[in-house]
Structures are given as structure tokens and as C-alpha cells.
């Protein structure tokens, strides 16, 4: 399979299940698709760390997520039913009928519990597993067959897989101006982000993240955001603080060299997290290249292949651009 065939790769990757903490199948796939000569290791949290020049201290690190939102099964009210605890920001399924598949191959269908209050969250939902046995603590993910049509791909976990593909493509094709490490980060969807400990071990000078961005282009959306099919975006705020302005400028310069203007993503404000990349060691300047995704973290996400292609070229340009982005 060619690494440039993003459509086929996304379909393949969407079928691999990797909820937070249980990323082994996807990590194995990645290890089989690394460029020749790259050295890879798995750290204590499950991050896959790849170096093309293992003898040189990396100055830059490229971070992409390894995991997708998922679930752990909880005790249900009676035989044939389980409850779900989300791993990561899984949105409530809306109309009943969404499916979840578990690591033991069991399938479940989500049903809204009768008389559940509006604010019950995931506690207001039950998962009908019929005659299957789903022990407490079994990991699961959305069950949604991916589909590619007319330049778009629909399926589960496409946002995180698209970000991973962009980073992997750059790992194969870029000739970085600075020694660079790639971190395919485990547990990135949950508060114990894997990328921060990985960066602590690598001690780079700056970090580029490749992440999905919730699209803000739905009809009537009050707070607009980046649109699907309009190119990748620069994230201007991260973990409650502004992205490093020097790195944001470097992203914008690289986009201009590729010949496009990136969209701007300004996520809602939130509490700063001390488990985040900018607070690693003595501080790690960080900026994010983001890919617009509709229905992010839901059972059926959608991404535009053109956005991926452009993002991959953008990241390569960014890594190959001469000069120090912190200068």
C-alpha cells in the first residue's frame, strides 16, 4: 500500500481499535509502516517514539495521537445490559441505536434509559449486549464501518487517524532541518496525556502537534470554527493559554510557502492542565496544526482528503524550513 493513498489508509486505520490505554494494535500497525532506518521504542505509557537520527538530541518533536475515544464497560442493571464509562470526550450518542464493539468481539447497541434525567450524561444510557458476555472493564469503541466518497471519508476515529497519517507521511517524506523526533502519543484523549511524559524524556526545544479540530461550519452554528474542505488550521489557543506566537508565525510562514492561508482555530477556553506539553520540564514552546473534522469523537466523523494532503505538505515544509523557529 502506498503511503500517499490517504483514502485507503484512512479506511484501514479506522477499522483498527485503539481506545486510550489499549493502543497496542495501532502501535503494531505503525511499527510495521515506519521508514527504513528509523529507530522506534515504546515508553512506559505506551507512546511510540520514533527517531530518524538516534544519535542526535532532537530539537523538535512532532506529536500525533495514537488513541481514539472509547469506553470501558460497567456493571449493568441486569443480564444482557452494560453501562459505559467514556474514555475521553465521547459525545452522547443522540438518537438511540449507535453501536459499540468491545475488545472481546461482543457488540452492543446504545439505548436511552427510560426516565433518565436530561443531565444524566452517559449514566442515562444502557448498552444492550444481548446474550454476549461483556465483563466489567472491557474496553470498547464505536462500531462504524468507514466509507469514502467524493473526497470525504466517514467513519469512527477519523480525526485522530488523519492527524496520525499526516505525521507519518512527514516522517517518511520530510528531510527536517533540525533533528526531530516523532511521538505517536498514547492516552492523548484523556487527562493523562501521553505526549507530555514522552517529551520530558526527549527534552526537545519545541513541539509541533498534529491534531483534529472540531469543525465549526455547520449551518446555523453560533461559534464558527474551521470548515471541512477549506484546508488545515492553526490552533491559536491550547490548554487555556495562547499557543507560542513564534511557532504560530513559523506555521503561517510555512503555509505561505506551500501557497495557502491556514484557517484559524480558537478552541473554547478551559482550565490550564499541568499535564500538558507547554509545562514539560522548564517549558516547551508548542503549536498545533489542526485538521477540521465534523462530529469529532462521535461514531461517524468526516474529514476531507484535500485537507490531509495539504496538511501533509504543510508539515513537511515546516520541518524542512531553514532557521530556528524560536530565534
Amino acid at each position: 500500500m502506498k503511503l500517499d493513498d490517504f483514502s485507503a489508509l484512512l479506511l484501514e486505520l479506522s477499522r483498527i481499535d485503539a481506545p486510550p490505554g489499549y493502543e497496542a494494535p495501532l502501535r503494531a500497525w505503525l511499527q510495521a509502516h515506519l521508514p527504513a532506518g528509523a529507530t522506534a521504542r515504546v515508553d512506559g505509557l505506551g507512546n511510540l517514539i520514533v527517531l530518524r537520527e538516534p544519535d542526535r538530541q532532537p530539537r523538535a518533536v512532532v506529536v500525533a495521537p495514537l488513541d481514539e475515544v472509547g469506553f470501558l464497560s460497567q456493571e449493568g442493571p441486569t443480564q444482557g445490559w452494560v453501562r459505559l464509562a467514556p474514555l475521553g470526550p465521547a459525545p452522547l450518542p443522540g438518537p438511540a441505536g449507535a453501536r459499540v464493539r468491545f475488545a472481546n468481539a461482543a457488540l452492543g447497541v446504545l439505548v436511552r434509559e427510560p426516565h433518565a434525567s436530561d443531565d444524566a450524561g452517559w449514566r442515562g444510557w444502557l448498552c444492550d449486549v444481548a446474550a454476549a458476555s461483556v465483563p466489567v472493564g472491557t474496553p470498547g469503541v464505536w462500531d462504524a464501518a468507514p466509507v469514502a466518497r467524493a473526497g470525504r471519508v466517514w467513519g469512527k476515529a477519523l480525526g485522530v487517524r488523519a492527524a496520525l497519517l499526516v505525521a507519518l507521511w512527514a516522517l517518511h517524506h520530510a528531510e527536517p532541518a533540525h533533528p526531530t523526533a516523532w511521538v505517536f502519543a498514547a492516552r492523548e484523549q484523556v487527562p493523562g496525556h501521553g505526549s507530555a511524559p514522552a517529551a520530558f524524556g526527549l527534552q526537545p526545544a519545541w513541539a509541533w502537534r498534529v491534531m483534529p479540530a472540531p469543525a465549526g461550519d455547520l449551518p446555523g452554528q453560533r461559534v464558527p470554527g474551521p470548515g471541512v474542505g477549506r484546508g488545515p488550521a492553526v490552533r491559536l489557543r491550547e490548554w487555556g493559554r495562547a499557543a507560542d506566537p513564534r511557532l504560530v508565525q513559523a506555521l503561517q510562514r510555512a503555509a505561505a510557502q506551500v501557497g495557502f492561508t491556514p484557517q484559524a482555530e480558537v478552541p473554547p477556553d478551559r482550565e490550564p492542565s499541568w499535564a500538558s506539553l507547554p509545562l514539560v520540564a522548564a517549558g516547551l514552546p508548542t503549536a498545533t496544526l489542526s485538521l477540521p473534522v465534523r462530529n469529532l469523537h462521535a461514531a461517524h466523523e468526516s474529514v476531507a482528503l484535500d485537507d490531509l494532503t495539504l496538511a501533509a505538505r504543510w508539515l513537511r515544509q515546516l520541518l524542512e524550513a531553514p532557521g530556528d523557529p524560536l530565534a
Partner: protein, 356 residues
Amino acid sequence: MPATLPPFPPRAVRLLRALTEAVAVSGAEGPARRLVRRALRDFADRITTDSMGNLFVHRPAEAHRSQRPLRVMLAAHLDEVGFMLTQRTGPGLYRFRPVGGLQPATALGQKVWVGPERRVGVIGSAPVHLLKGGARLPAWDDLRIDFGPHDPPATPGQYAAFATPFRREGDTIFAKALDDRVGVVTLVELVRHAPPHLDLWAVFTVQEEVGLRGARIAAHALQPDLAIALDCTPARDFVGPDGRPYPFPNTRLGRGPALYLADRRTISDPRLVRHFRTVAERYGLPYQLRQAGGGSTDAGAMHIQAAGIPSLSVSVPARGLHSPVAAMRYADWRAAFHWLWAALQALTPAVLEQTP
């Protein structure tokens, strides 16, 4: 053939009594720390305290071993939820704030011990018909700690905890601050029974109840190969007013210690989960899986320190945590000690050599 489990000695209950009757709220853990230090002074090579107040007890591996021993950090938190006096508002009357996760309703009408000398005060409130706006539940500002008008003045900044004597009724233990004094005593016993092949660091952490602060610093300083949090977790195995079991039980009393798979901050390391489950089955020890979801333990801070530390939590279930009195089963506690002891005995580098 598994090794014979060590007896769980009666001294553990005595230490639990002393610890649960001490006042050691987050940020002022001195009384609990002194009791632990005294209990372990003859059992450790080194006992030190860091700048935050974490107590480190080191049991190094036997020197003759050729392989580098695994460095294992075991953490149990010394602190408990409680109160801090903030302002004198009248003779013997003090405004106060909660320290850690408490609700005003749990404090209403309770007796408290203030400071290490345990001066007795009472948390009073305006009677229900005088509460503002017809509210039936008080806010913190509606409450005062009352020492009586002739008592010598207290000092704003002093800490207070519920005044609850320890009590044992058969297999059930009732006490305040079981979260996490039960973990602390378990850890004391594990230090006394430390396996010779591990480089064991027992850390009695501070300020867990206000953001896992002590464990964060301690794990960063030690950078162990793996870390295990010993804690106490809520059991919500009540029957509701409609006669049906509460639908979200978390854990249940009497079903053994609880193993965490995931909570609000941590996903337990799958290799350690496998190891603990295997050991429990080998020894025939009871255990239960804590329902995934909210809450957190020191593992939430430890696992993301430095370059990442594989971590796990084992807890004793108890009803009524973060309230004046909680209840737990002695048998669950004893099983937790045996499980941890057996898991440590069987712990080798091979456990971490598997893929996470």
C-alpha cells in the same frame, strides 16, 4: 506453589485507630506523619521528609542480586479532608472553609477536633426556618465552628477534622479518615514485610485531597520503574428508597479490595492490571474491579511524571467517605494487604517487558 501469606497483625488495627483519631488535614499532616515515622523507625534503612511533607521510607533490595532491582514506589496519602478556620466572627465563633471535597450538609451539627491538640468545637447553623431565601441546605458561609464564649481564642489558619472516635463492630470498622489512613497502615505493613528483591520506596504523601500534589512531587523525585497507589474508594452499594439497588455501585463492601482500570485521571497500566489479576487468582484472593468513571488517586499524578511511570491503584472500599464517619470491612482490608504483598513478591522486570 504460591508462598504462604503473612498474618495480618492486630497491631495494624491499633495503628489505624490512632491514625483515624489524629487530625491531619491536607497541608497539616504532621500528626499522621509522626505516627507513621514511629511505627517504621526500626524497619527502614532511611526515613526522610521532603519540602512538602511527603514521608519517604526506603527498603533497598538485598545487595547480592546481580540484576538491577525494580524501583517500586508505593504511595498512600496521609491527609484527610477537613476544615480551616478563616475568621473570628464573635466570642468563640469562627468562620471556616472546607479543605478537600466536602459538602456543607455533611458538616452540619457535627463535633470537630481543632488542631493537633484536638480542641473540641461544634459546627452549628442557623435553624432551617431562618436560612436565607428559604434554602434548606446551608452554604459554608452559614456555618460556624463554636468553641463556646469562654474558650481561649483559636487562630485563623488552624485545621479541624470531624471528631469521630474509631469503632470496630465485628468485621466492620467505623471511623473518619479511612480515606486514606487504611492505605497508610497497609503500606506500613508492606514496609515491614518488604520483598527482598525490590528497591522499595514507600511514600506517605501529602495534599492528595486538594489535587494529588504531594505524589506529583514525590514521583518526579524518585522516577520509579512503576508506582502503585494504595487508597480507599467509595462503595455505593446502597439500596435506594424504592427498594432497588443503587444503579451505579462503584464498589461493594465485602467483595474484596478494588482494582482500578480507569478513573477521571488515570488509565491503569494494563500490564500491572494483568499481574495483579493473575496473582489474585493464583492465591484465591477476593477482589473486585472498581467501576470506571470519576474520582482519582495519587496514581493520577504519578503516572505522568518524568518520562511516564506505569501506575495502578488498589483501594479498600468504604461507605460514607468524605463525611464524619465511614464504614469498611476488615476482611476487605486484610485481603488488600495480602494481595499487595503477593503481587510485590511476584513482581519482576518481565512484567514490564510486555507491550503496554
